[in-house]
């Protein structure tokens, strides 16, 4: 009687070497690092800014690098996101001389009178008299909306609803009016751009 030989065939246990094990760890680490760098690069690109300074009006600020700047209108300067589809998100900076008795509320009223004459459906949504700029300058913030119509009478452009956010501050005999304008549907999404702009603002 012969004793049968039992041959057991099984899966070979993977017994990675220490080097292999660490390789795996490093790959994961590199991947994570690349992801962080990519996110960082993306944020850097998206949030890249260009500095603006105007000695005459005493204003310095950083605005998104891809936005287009102009200073030919009735303002100190204006930057616009020309790549945006539809209404171009804008930041407009203007200054006005004020008297000793002028308050930010007076300026809000004057702006409202002017805009009511020129903007369709202009309506103030909220006035915040207790707003403070990042450098603790007291200001008045106004949120409003209106219907924007392109000026070309030939083209068939649909009006768009614009939401605006003004920050009005008075310092050293001069009022600074910072306006952030965006299509109402993307206003909240775009609002951080204005927050970063305010953080960089010096006047």
């Amino acid at each position: 009687m012969t004793t049968p030989t039992l041959v057991e065939i099984g899966r070979q246990e993977e017994q990675g070497t220490l080097r292999q094990r660490w390789s795996h760890y490093f790959v994961l680490l590199y991947g994570l690092l690349c992801l962080i760098i990519a996110i960082n690069l993306r944020d850097s690109t998206i949030n890249a800014t260009t500095n603006y300074s105007d000695v005459t009006s005493g204003i310095r600020a950083a605005y998104p690098m891809t936005w287009v700047i102009d200073s030919d209108g009735p303002y100190v300067f204006r930057v616009r996101d020309m790549a945006r589809i539809g209404f171009k998100t804008s930041i407009v900076v203007d200054t006005q001389p004020v008297s000793l008795s002028t308050t930010t509320r007076n300026l809000v009223d004057a702006l409202s009178l002017d805009r009511g004459n020129t903007l369709t459906g202009y309506r103030i949504l909220e006035i915040d008299d207790a707003y403070t700029l990042p450098d603790d300058t007291p200001a008045t913030a106004v949120t409003y909306t209106y219907v924007n119509v392109e000026v070309s009478p030939i083209l068939q452009t649909l009006p768009s609803i614009v939401e605006g956010f003004d920050v009005i501050a008075i310092r050293q005999g001069q009022a600074v009016i910072l306006s952030f304008l965006a299509d109402a549907s993307v206003f909240e999404e775009q609002r951080p751009v204005m927050d970063r702009f305010l953080e960089s603002l010096e006047f």
């Binding site: 891809t66 287009v68 102009d70 020309m82 790549a83 589809i85 392109e150 000026v151 009478p153 068939q156």
Partner: protein, 755 residues
């Protein structure tokens, strides 16, 4: 054609390199046929329909309408005064501007406008778009409208082809273009030998106020006719609304005068001063002017014409060379002279001419506004136009009422009878020297007249009659004894001095008027010209009183808001016509001829020029004239003494438009930015600075992805283009050259790929 497509090919190549596809439509389909090679599409877009309306309670009643033309990017509209300026026939105060959005559709009301300049006599008005249709104010610099350039009409020739554009009706009529030719130039004292262009084709009166264009697409004239008031016999009008709110549209409702047809074009150069003043924002106030004793709209007596006669030519001072009763065959020049009374700028006058009883459109004048004064001598005529043989009958009408008729025969040999011609005047001083400028003389004791005589026989009875302000003051009737031909001097004298004012001399041969001319005596005898206006100067002050006393200045700082023109006067009779003309950099921006309403002598006549935003830099001058003679002038420089250059003043050039489509869906993308970079910069320059200073023009697509560059491009300038839209691959291209033979307008299709 191949060379013309080069720009497009460059665009396609550049676009392909960056991932997009860009192509011009192979056969762009113009919305309207191109007439004689002119840019009809741009002209039609610049042609507007103007409604004058009156607020009655809560309703807006239409009171008048006309066509108009946009002549500047920021919304200046040139049109007729009779249909826009508030008056008895057009009592509305609101002006609504409807635009040609689609060439095949009726105009669409888009804006409201205000009158910024007008000349009721020339029947021209300049409007400025100042509000949206719903009443919201529009900032002047935000408008970028299609416009046309005003030509120099002195380059217009007889038989030149012109295209008349306007709205032919008040219903569903879209803008229309009619090709015509210039068949005659009509002369009048108000504007000289080319007061009117006469077109070969009659167009509907609703096209009045539109435009007539040369082959270069420039505005050369404004079709003009003034419909008579709907209350007058023979008037044509249309009732459009239930203006009395009785739920019926009938004869009780307001009937808007329409008129018949037009073949008269007011040359566009008469609009240039209005446009220039409006563009510069200048306002002129005549602070010393007294209100006229007779208001324009309150004439007690009906208009009247008298003393109709014909002359073969007219001299530079508007005087007839001689008086004729017939013209030889082959004549090409004829003028009808007449005296007029009780005319106002609101009077509509008309000349109807028949040749052997058949209406002659060439020499007739459509009903137009009166462009002269209240009384005086006038003429209508033309030169360079052959007259067919026959008997011509000229009938003058005022407010559609025939008033006077005169006849003239053309044909046969030149007349051989006795004739006086070419009367000119001078003043004889104590030494016997003659001074004065032909028709404007200084005060003195003797006025001298010189005239030419031909074919006179001795012993022929002749007479000279002198008039002062319409009243006969001297008459001499005698027989001729100076021989057959030559020049003769005659004179009138007054030991106490001839009074300042208007004079007339009539010369008769055998009881028939043979020559006549008017002259004016004004000012003191000093130098070649009479010194009627003294010490003309500019001054700068805070008030009129200070301006009168302030010393003269010839240089003012930039940004000056007010400038005064001051002068004294002497021996200038009330009622005499004088002209005040203002110029900037040598170009007229204000000119008005009016009767003198102040005393005969005086000081400190003050005229104020102002602009609340600052008078633009330039060299300003004002001139004081009597007839064509400039008697005084003053000049001052503001700022650098030269007008700034307007980069948007040029309408000529390339119109660019197109459509931006999604490459995957082939649907238009709304809200995409099409950035055209100036030829001084490249895409790289722009992307580095992202500054609008480098942008030549910017367009954003509409809901169908269509865009239109609102500024004309120059030929042979290497532009760059950036098309950016979030979610799509951008398109960038440098060195886009457009050559002169490129088919216009450029109509391109751009495909964007998602990325």
């Amino acid at each position: 054609m191949i060379r013309g497509a080069r720009a497009v090919i460059v665009l396609v190549l550049c676009a392909a390199l960056v991932g997009g596809v860009w192509a011009q439509d192979e056969q762009p389909t113009p919305a309207t046929p191109v007439t004689s090679g002119i840019d009809l599409e741009r002209i039609e877009q610049a042609t507007v329909f103007i409604l004058q309306a009156q607020n009655v309670g809560d309703n807006l009643n239409i009171t008048c309408f006309s066509s108009g033309t946009i002549v500047s990017r920021d919304g200046l509209i040139l049109t007729n005064a009779h249909s826009t300026v508030t008056g008895p026939n057009c009592p509305g105060e609101t002006l609504i501007v409807a635009l040609t959005v689609s060439p095949d559709a009726p105009p669409v009301p888009r804006y409201r406008a205000e009158i910024v300049q007008s000349n009721t006599g020339l029947d021209l008005a300049l409007l400025r778009i100042n509000r949206e249709y719903d009443g919201r104010l529009i900032a002047r610099d935000t408008l970028a409208l299609p416009f046309v350039e005003v030509a120099n009409p002195s380059t217009v020739n007889l038989d030149e082809t012109v295209t008349i554009v306007g709205y032919p009706g008040v219903g569903n009529d879209p803008v229309a273009a009619e090709t015509s030719t210039v068949v005659a130039f009509v002369a009048e004292p108000s504007a000289g030998a080319r007061s009117w262009f006469k077109a070969s084709r009659n167009v509907p009166a609703t096209m009045s106020g539109g435009g007539a264009y040369n082959r270069s697409s420039q505005l050369i004239g404004i079709p003009t006719t003034a419909p008579i008031a709907s209350s007058l016999p023979g008037a044509t009008c249309v009732t459009l609304q239930d203006t009395n709110r009785d739920d019926l549209i009938n004869s009780s409702d307001l009937c808007i005068p329409t008129g018949g047809t037009i073949n008269m074009l007011r040359p566009s150069n008469y609009a240039r001063p209005l446009i220039r003043a409006a563009q510069l924002g200048l306002q002129l106030e005549n602070l010393s002017e007294r209100p006229a004793a007779l208001a324009d709209t309150d004439t007690p007596d009906a208009p009247a014409f008298r003393r109709l006669f014909f002359a073969p030519s007219v001299n530079d001072d508007g005087m007839p060379s001689s008086v004729i009763r017939s013209l030889p065959a082959g004549s090409t020049s004829l003028y009808l002279f007449f005296d007029y009374e009780n005319m106002t700028p609101n009077t509509v006058y008309e000349l109807r001419v028949t040749t052997d009883g058949v209406p002659n459109q060439i020499f007739s004048l459509s009903p137009v506004r009166w462009s002269g004064g209240q009384r005086g001598m006038w003429y209508i005529g033309s030169s360079g136009q052959p007259l067919a043989n026959g008997v011509y009958e000229f009938t003058l009408l005022a407010d559609n009422i025939p008033l006077e008729t005169a006849r003239l025969s053309v044909g046969g040999a030149p007349p051989e009878g006795p004739q006086f011609t070419d009367v000119i005047f001078g003043l004889v001083d104590a030494r016997g020297n003659i001074s004065g400028n032909g028709y404007v003389l200084p005060t003195g004791n003797i006025a001298n007249a010189t005239f030419i005589y031909r074919n006179l026989a001795n012993e022929t009875p002749w007479a000279q009659i002198w008039y002062y302000r319409g009243r006969e003051i001297a008459r001499t009737e005698t027989v001729w004894d100076d021989g057959a031909s030559g020049a003769k001097n005659i004179s009138i004298q007054d030991a106490n001095g001839l009074l300042p004012g208007d004079y007339r001399l009539e010369l008769y041969i055998e009881g028939r008027l043979s020559a006549t001319a008017d002259f004016t005596i004004a000012g003191a005898f000093q130098g070649v010209l009479p010194q009627a206006f003294l010490d003309a100067h500019f001054s700068s002050a805070d008030s009129v009183q200070e301006a009168a006393a302030a010393p003269g200045v010839n240089s003012l700082s930039a940004g000056t808001e007010t400038l005064y023109g001051v002068f004294d006067w002497q021996s200038f009779a009330p009622g005499m016509l004088w002209t005040l003309r203002w110029l900037v950099d040598g170009s007229v921006f204000y000119e008005q001829t009016q009767p003198w309403l102040l005393d005969q002598d005086g000081q400190n006549y003050v005229v104020r020029l102002s602009n609340p935003e600052g008078i633009p830099d330039g060299t300003y001058s004002f001139e004081l004239l009597v007839g064509p003679v400039r008697l005084a002038q003053a000049q001052a420089r503001v700022g650098i003494g030269q007008l700034p250059i307007d980069p948007f003043a040029q309408a000529e050039g390339i119109q660019m438009r197109g459509q931006i489509l999604d490459a995957a869906t082939n649907e238009g993308i709304a809200g995409v930015s099409f950035i055209l970079i100036s030829d001084l910069y490249s895409v790289a320059d722009f992307l580095e600075t992202r500054s609008m200073d480098q942008v030549f023009a910017l367009a954003v697509t509409d809901r169908e992805g269509r865009f239109q560059i609102d500024r004309s491009l120059a030929y042979d300038a290497p532009y760059s283009v950036v098309v950016i839209a979030e979610g799509y691959l951008p398109i960038q291209a440098d060195g886009i050259l457009i050559e002169r033979d490129t088919p216009l307008p450029i109509d391109m299709t751009i495909y964007l790929s998602r990325g």
